[in-house]
Amino acid sequence: MTKEQADNGRDDMVIDGPGQANAVPDEFNANYLRIYYGKLFPHADMFKWMSYGNDGKHPGCDKSYFGRREFSFTLENDIYIRFQSFNSVTELENSIKEKCPFKIDIGPVYSVDPAKRHAYAQSGDNVFTPVERELVFDIDISDYDDVRYCCTGADVCLECWPLMTIAIKVIDTSLRDDFGFNHILWVYSGRRGVHCWVCDGKARRLTNEQRAAIADYFYVYKGNENSHKKISLPGLVLYPFLARSYTEVLKGFFEAKLLPNQNLLASEERYEKILEMIPDASVASELRRRWQENKRASMSKDDINIVRWEQLKSILQSGKQKMQGLRRCVEEIVFSYTYPRLDMEVSKHMNHLLKAPFCVHPKTGRVCVPIDPNNCDEFDPTTVPTLSQLLEELNRGGPRQDAENEWDRTSLGESVTIFRTSFLQPLLKSCKEEIENSYNAKLQQSKNALSW
C-alpha cells in the first residue's frame, strides 16, 4: 500500500476527458481522505443520528446532548486524540475536514461536555461519567480462523464471509425478537468483520452490568482446556433462542454451504477435528474406520462432505445412543463451527470506543458501509467501494454546481440511502415521539404538583 504519492496539485484531481485519465491510483492517503471528507462523508446524517432528535426544535429537546458525546480521532502517524466534542454539525464537519482523521471513533455521551471534564471529579457528587451509549457488538472473522481454511487472519473471501452473514442473522433476530430492540445498525468494519449499533433509548441507557448480561446471553462456550469440544449444550432441549438459531440459520448454512465449501470432512486432518468433538470414542472410531476405507472412492456423485455428514448424523442421532454427552452432539458441532463469536469486552463497557460508520479503512481503502440485515445475504465485502474508486467516480461526473449529495454520483449513494431509510429515519421518528412524550409527562407532573 505504500506507493509513491504524486505531488502535483492534489486539489486538482479533475482532468478533462473520460476514461483512463480519470483513473485514481488505488491507495489510501491523506489527500484522498481530504476530498472524501470534503465531498462524500455524510456529516449531516451522522450529526442527526448522534443527536437522537435533540435538534432544538421541540421545547423538550436537550440542547447539550450532542455536545456531551465523545469522539476520538486517529490522525496520520498514529496520533490519537480523545475527548473531542462538538456543539453543532458545523463544528463537527469543520473539525473533521481540518484534522482529516484516518479513523473516527464514537464514544459515550457523558454527564458533561468532555471538554470540561477536568473540572469534574471521578467520584462523589459532581461526576464526569458516561450516561448513555449505544449497545454495540463487534464480530471479527479472524476469530473464526480455526474453522475456515480458505483464508486466515485479515483476509476475507466469498467462501468465508457468509460466517459473518449468519452471525448478523442470529444476533439481529435475537436483538429484535428476544430483547425488543428496534433501531439496529449493522456496519461493515472495512476489512474483516461487522459492527452492530443498537440505538434504542433503552439500549443506550443500559448499565455495564446489563450489557454484560446481554453479552453473556449470546455467549455459548464451555471453556474447559481439557476438552476438545468448545461448545457444550447440556439440557434435554435447547434454549429457545439457540433452538431457533439452529433450525432457522445455522443448520442450513452449515450443511449446505460451510461443510462443502470448506471441505470439512474431506481430509483426515479436517475430519479429525470434528471426530474429536464426539465424546464417545467408539462412535468416533467407527466413523474414522469408515472414512479411512473410503479415502479415494466416492460412492456417489454427491459431495463427499455431505455424504460423511449424513453418516455421522445417522449414527449420533439414532435411537441407540443413550450416552448423555451424545444427545446434542450434532448441534454442538454445528454451533462450534457457525455460532457467532462476539468480542465480549467491546459490548460490556459503556466507555468502549467504536469506529464510526462511513470511515475508510486505512489498510483496505474500503468504506465502512451499512449492511441491511434484511438483505445481508447479498452483501459482498469484495465489492464495497474503496476510497480511490469513489474519487474516480466523482471525477467521471465532472464538476457540479450543487455541492450537496455528491455521494449520489457514486457507489456510496446506495449506502447513504440504506442508512437513511432503514435506520436513521425510523430512529429519528421514534426519538421525536420519545422526547414529546417525556416532555408532556413532565408537564403533567408539574401540573399535578401545582394542583390543589
Binding site: 428476544d178 425488543g180 446481554i214 453473556d216 435447547l238
Partner: protein, 452 residues
C-alpha cells in the same frame, strides 16, 4: 415497623396473612427485659434447628416441614400482633448477639436468609407481591391467557435447564429483562420483546438475594454500633445477656480442650490411626511421608492437633522431628517455629486461633502440592475409595459414602465413614474435625474402658 399495628387493623376479613417483616429498622417498641432474653432464645431454637437440619442434608420438602414446625413450636402466638412483635424483637436482639465476629455473622446471615426463604415461599401470592413491591421489584403477574400462549416456550426453557414445568411453577412474573441480568446472562428465563418471564422460584431467589444483601450490610453496621456505643452503655443491663446468649448456644469451637486434657507426642501416632478424620489422617500420613507440608496443610493439621490437646512444646517437637530429614534444626527455628507459636497465641496479636470447622475446610481449594482441604470433596473417586478402604471401611459402606460424595454432601460422607469405622451411629453429624476426634475417643473409651 411501627406500621405493624395499623396493618393488622386494616387487613381484610379473611385468613390471617402472615406478615413477613423485612427488619429494615429497629422497632420503637417497649420490651420487657425478660422478653428481651426469652424471645431471643426462642428464635435461636428455630435457627439452630434449621442449622442442624441443613447439616444433616435434609431434602427440601423435609426442610419446609421442619421450618414450619420449628416456627410453630417457638414463635407462634394466638394474637398476630404479638407474633409479629416477637418476630421482630427477637431478630434484632440476635443481631446484637451475632454481629460481633465474622463467623457469627456468617452463620446468622445464612440461617436468617434460609428462614426468610421458607417463610416467603409459604406466604400467599398477595403477601409475596406485597413484599416484592417493598423491595421495589417491578414484577407483574402473568395472566392465564398469556401463560397459555407461552407455555411451550416456558417449558422449553425449563427443560433446557434440566427442569420441568411443574404445576406449582405455573406462576410466572413478567419484568423488563434488564431487571434480572443474572437470569438473562445464564439463559434461565424466557425473554420476548424485552420482557423476561420469571418463574416463582426464581423470584424467591431474587427477593432472598435482596434480603441477604441488606442484612449483611446491616450486620456490619450493628457491629460498629455495638463496639462503639451499645456495649459500654448497656454493660449493666443488656450486654451480659447478649454475651451469654452467644456462648451458650453456638456449638463449641474447640479452642479449649475439654474432656481429654492433653495428648502427648507419643500418643499421636496411635490416635491418628483410630480417631482422626480422613482429612487429618491424610495430612498426617503426608507429613510422615514427605517430611514436609505446605502452609495450608500445616495450618489445618496444626490447629487440629492443638484442639486435640497437643501442647505447644510438644507441637514444636513434633513438627521439628517430622521435618528433620529435610529441614535443619536452625532453619526450622527460623522459618517454622514462629508460625506454630503464632497459632498458639504466643506471638503477634496473640489471637488464640481456633481449629478449622468442616465448613471452612470444605471451602478451601488446595493447589498443586497441597494436601489440605476436605478429601471427600477434593480427592478423585479412585483415591478416595482407596483411602476409605485403608481406613477399614467395608465395601458396602464405601458405596454409601461415595453416594453422598456424588451428591456433594461431604460432611454426611464423613459421618458415614465415622459410623462405619466405629460401628456406632453419629446422630449429630460431623461438623468439625475435632468433634470427630472427641466422639471417636468417646466411643473407643466406652468400648475399651480407657483412653486410646
Amino acid at each position: 415497623m411501627e406500621v405493624v399495628q395499623s396493618q393488622r387493623k386494616s387487613s381484610s376479613n379473611n385468613v390471617i396473612v402472615s406478615i413477613l417483616p423485612l427488619y429494615r429498622s429497629a422497632p420503637p417498641l417497649e420490651v420487657r427485659l425478660e422478653d428481651f432474653e426469652f424471645f431471643a432464645i426462642d428464635r435461636l431454637r428455630v435457627l439452630k434447628g434449621l442449622s442442624d437440619g441443613l447439616c444433616r442434608g435434609k431434602k427440601p420438602e423435609e426442610m419446609e416441614k421442619l421450618v414450619l414446625d420449628l416456627w410453630k413450636a417457638n414463635m407462634r402466638h394466638p394474637q398476630a400482633v404479638e407474633e409479629v412483635n416477637k418476630d421482630i424483637i427477637s431478630h434484632f436482639v440476635l443481631r446484637l448477639v451475632y454481629c460481633r465476629t465474622e463467623e457469627l455473622r456468617k452463620w446468622f446471615l445464612s440461617m436468617e436468609t434460609t428462614l426468610f426463604r421458607h417463610r416467603f415461599r409459604w406466604g400467599s401470592s398477595e403477601a409475596q407481591r406485597a413484599l416484592m413491591s417493598e423491595f421495589k421489584l417491578p414484577y407483574k403477574a402473568v395472566s392465564n391467557a398469556e401463560f397459555e400462549s407461552l407455555k411451550d416456550k416456558l417449558g422449553q426453557v425449563a427443560r433446557s435447564m434440566g427442569q420441568t414445568l411443574a404445576a406449582a411453577d405455573a406462576i410466572f412474573y413478567k419484568v423488563p429483562f434488564e431487571e434480572v441480568p443474572d437470569l438473562v446472562a445464564g439463559r434461565r428465563v424466557f425473554i420476548h420483546k424485552g420482557h423476561a418471564y420469571v418463574a416463582i422460584n426464581q423470584v424467591v431467589s431474587l427477593v432472598v438475594t435482596q434480603f441477604r444483601s441488606y442484612l449483611s450490610k446491616a450486620l456490619i453496621l450493628t457491629n460498629r454500633k455495638w463496639t462503639s456505643t451499645i456495649r459500654e452503655q448497656e454493660k449493666d443491663r443488656l450486654t451480659p445477656i447478649v454475651e451469654a446468649l452467644c456462648t451458650s448456644y453456638l456449638g463449641p469451637d474447640y479452642s479449649q480442650q475439654q474432656e481429654f486434657g492433653e495428648i502427648s507426642i507419643k500418643d499421636i501416632d496411635q490416635v491418628a490411626k483410630t480417631s482422626f478424620p480422613l482429612c487429618m489422617r491424610h495430612l498426617f500420613e503426608k507429613v510422615k511421608e514427605d517430611h514436609h507440608l505446605k502452609h495450608g496443610g500445616r495450618m489445618q493439621l496444626g490447629l487440629f492437633l492443638k484442639g486435640v490437646g497437643l501442647k505447644l512444646d510438644d507441637a514444636l517437637a513434633f513438627w521439628k522431628a517430622e521435618f528433620a530429614p529435610k529441614v535443619s534444626a536452625e532453619r526450622f527455628d527460623k522459618e517454622y517455629a514462629y508460625n506454630i507459636r503464632h497459632n498458639y497465641g504466643r506471638e503477634g496479636k496473640r489471637t488464640d486461633y481456633t481449629p478449622y470447622s468442616c465448613q471452612k475446610i470444605i471451602s478451601v481449594t488446595p493447589g498443586i502440592g497441597d494436601h489440605h482441604g476436605c478429601p471427600y470433596r477434593h480427592f478423585s473417586e479412585e483415591n478416595l475409595r482407596a483411602a476409605l478402604v485403608r481406613m477399614g471401611v467395608s465395601s458396602r459402606a464405601v458405596e454409601d459414602v461415595m453416594d453422598k460424595v456424588h451428591n456433594r454432601h461431604y460432611q454426611l460422607a464423613c459421618t458415614l465413614t465415622f459410623e462405619a469405622v466405629h460401628g456406632s451411629s453419629c446422630d449429630a453429624g460431623i461438623n468439625h474435625p475435632n468433634q470427630y476426634f472427641i466422639d471417636s475417643q468417646r466411643v473407643l473409651q466406652s468400648k475399651n474402658g480407657s483412653v486410646a
